[in-house]
Symmetry: C2
Amino acid sequence: MNPIRSPGVTRRVMLSSLAMLPALAGTLAPKPALAQTATSGGLLSSWNDGPAKQAIFDFVRATIARSSPSYVFPEDRIAVFDQDGTLWVEQPMYTQVIYCLDRVPAVAAKKPELRNVEPFKTVLSGNREAIARLPMRDLEKILAATLSGMSVEEFNAEVKAWLETARHPRWNRPYTELIYQPMLELLRYLRDNAYKTYIVTGGGQDFVRVYAEKVYGIPPEQVVGTAEGTKFGYGKDGKPFLTKEPKLLLNDNNAGKPEGIHLMIGRRPYAAFGNSTGDRQMLEWTGAGAGARLKMLVLHDDAVREYAYGPAQGLPDSKVGTFTQALYDEAKKDGWTVISMKNDWRRIFAFE
Amino acid sequence: MNPIRSPGVTRRVMLSSLAMLPALAGTLAPKPALAQTATSGGLLSSWNDGPAKQAIFDFVRATIARSSPSYVFPEDRIAVFDQDGTLWVEQPMYTQVIYCLDRVPAVAAKKPELRNVEPFKTVLSGNREAIARLPMRDLEKILAATLSGMSVEEFNAEVKAWLETARHPRWNRPYTELIYQPMLELLRYLRDNAYKTYIVTGGGQDFVRVYAEKVYGIPPEQVVGTAEGTKFGYGKDGKPFLTKEPKLLLNDNNAGKPEGIHLMIGRRPYAAFGNSTGDRQMLEWTGAGAGARLKMLVLHDDAVREYAYGPAQGLPDSKVGTFTQALYDEAKKDGWTVISMKNDWRRIFAFE
C-alpha cells in the first residue's frame, strides 16, 4: 500500500515518520548504481522450505501442467504484486513521500517565490518537527508541486536522478537495493512459467515505472498504480508534449486495486501478493475466480533483519502497511498464505 | 476514431447514419463463427508493391538491425493502431453504436418501466427517422443504459453473444469478419519482429477487449480505449464483483490518445496507424520521438471494394472517420505515409 492520495494514511505516515528521517537532502550523496534484478543461487533459493514456498510450487504446477484440472493457458497467466512492503522496504515511510519532500528545494529553486510560501517554507527549513505538523492540505500542495506541472520526460529524469543519490537511513543504500530477494526470485520463477508479472501499487504509477524494469524486470506497461492525468500540448517549437496534471484518475488502493486491474489489465489475475489492508480487495478479487488461485500476504515479523510491525499476531502498530489481525484472520479463513519474513525467508536482501 | 463520448461526432453519426441501417435487431440471424486471425500467403501478401509497403519494410529493417543507427531494443518496440476505419470497417456507422441500439430491447426486457420512457420508447419503435432525431442527451442515456450497470462478466457475455449474431448490412457477415486483411498481416509482421501491438481506440475499451484477442491477436491488456470506471462490491453470497459505472475515466480520442498511451502503456510508440483527425495527436506524439518512427494513415478511397469518403483529396464527406484535407497535408509535410486502400491493398478482406 502507498497512500499518495489516501488522506488518512498519508497524514498518519507524514506526522509520525518525518522525525525518523536522518536527512531530506539525499542529493549530496555519491552516485551508486541501481540494483540489478539478477539473482544468485537456484529456484527460490532465498526461501526456506515450508508452507509458503510449497504453496508457490503447488500453484505453479497446478496451473502449468496440461493434464491438471486447474491448467491455465499461458496468455491468461497474470500475477499481480503490491510494491511497498511486498517487493521493497516501506519503513520508516513510503519512498515516494520521501522523494516528494526531497524535491521541494529543486521546485523552490525554479520558483523562488515559493521560498516564503507555506508549506514550502517549512519544508525548506529542515525543521522536521514543524514538517510533521503540516496539515493535510499543505502536504497535498507538496505532492502536487513535486508530482505534476512538468513534462513526463522531465519527471522521469528527476526521479531517476534522485534514485541514484538518495539513501535509506538504516542501510545507507539506494532504495532500489532494498528489494526483497525472495520476491525477485518469485517474480522470475513466475515469468519463467509464462506468467506476466504486474505491479499493482498504491504508489504513483509514473514514479514506479521509472525503475520497475531495471529493478524488478517489469516494464512500464505492467505497472498499475495511483495515476494522475496528463495534458497533451505543443511547445514553442511546435513539438507535442505531455504535461503531468494534478488530476486523479485512479486511486489504486483498497477497492481501487481490482478496479485498476480491470482498467489496465482487463482480466482477473491468478496470483496476487500484498502485505496490508490496502491489498485485501485485490486478493479477494483474485481468489473469487475459478480454479487454482494463489493469494499471499507478507507479514513483517523480523525486527532483526528488517522490521516487525502491524498489529496482526500482536506485532507493534505501524504507520505504514497496516496488516491488521482481521486481515490475518481472513487470510487463514479463506486459505490465503501468510509469508513470515522471519521463518520463510532465508535471505531478505541481495546484499546480505 | 470512435465517438462513444465525443458528443459532436456522435451526434453527427447518429443523426445521419441510422436511416442507412437495414435492421437494428441482429439477434435473429444465424450464428457464424468469429473471424480468425490466420492469414494466407506470404509476408504482407495482401499489399501491393509501392511506397506504403516499402515504408513498412524500411521501418522494420531500420529498427531491428543491430547495426542500424535507428536500432530499437525489443522491449521498447511498441506499435499502436486505431481500430475503426484502420483495422475494420467503420461505415455506415461505428459498430459499437449499433451494438448499443441493438441492446435496448434486452435492457427494456429487464426493466419494463423503460418501455414507455424516452428515448427507449423511440428506439423500441424501430422508427429509424425518429431515432435519428433523438437529441444528444437521449443518446447518452442509451449509451449509459447499455454500457453500464452490469458486472464486467455480464457485459462481456452480452457483447460476445451480439457479435455472434449481428451482421453488417452490406456484406451480411459478422462485424468481426470485416477486418482489413492487410492490417492483420501488418500486425503479425510487426509482432514477428518483437513489436508489441496495441489498439488505441476511441471506442469502448471493454467492448473491444471482448474480441480483440480472437480477431486481432491482441490481448485485453493491450487494448486502450475510451474507458469508464468500475465499482468494486460484494454480492449477497459475499463474493466480490465489479460493476460497470457510467463514469468517464478516459476519452481516448484526439489529445486523449497520447494521454491514454501514457496512462496505459507508459512509453512512446515507434509506429502508429490511424485514419482520421482523431488519430492526429497520436501520430504527432509518435513522430516526435527520436530515431525511426512509422506514421501511417489509411485513406478510404475505394468505393468499389469498401467505401470512399473523405474529404481529403476531394472524397465525399462522411459521417465517420473524418480524414480532412488538412490532415492529408500534415501527413505529406511531416513524412507520414498515406495508405491508399485502392492502390496499396491487393485484397481488403480475408473472405474475398
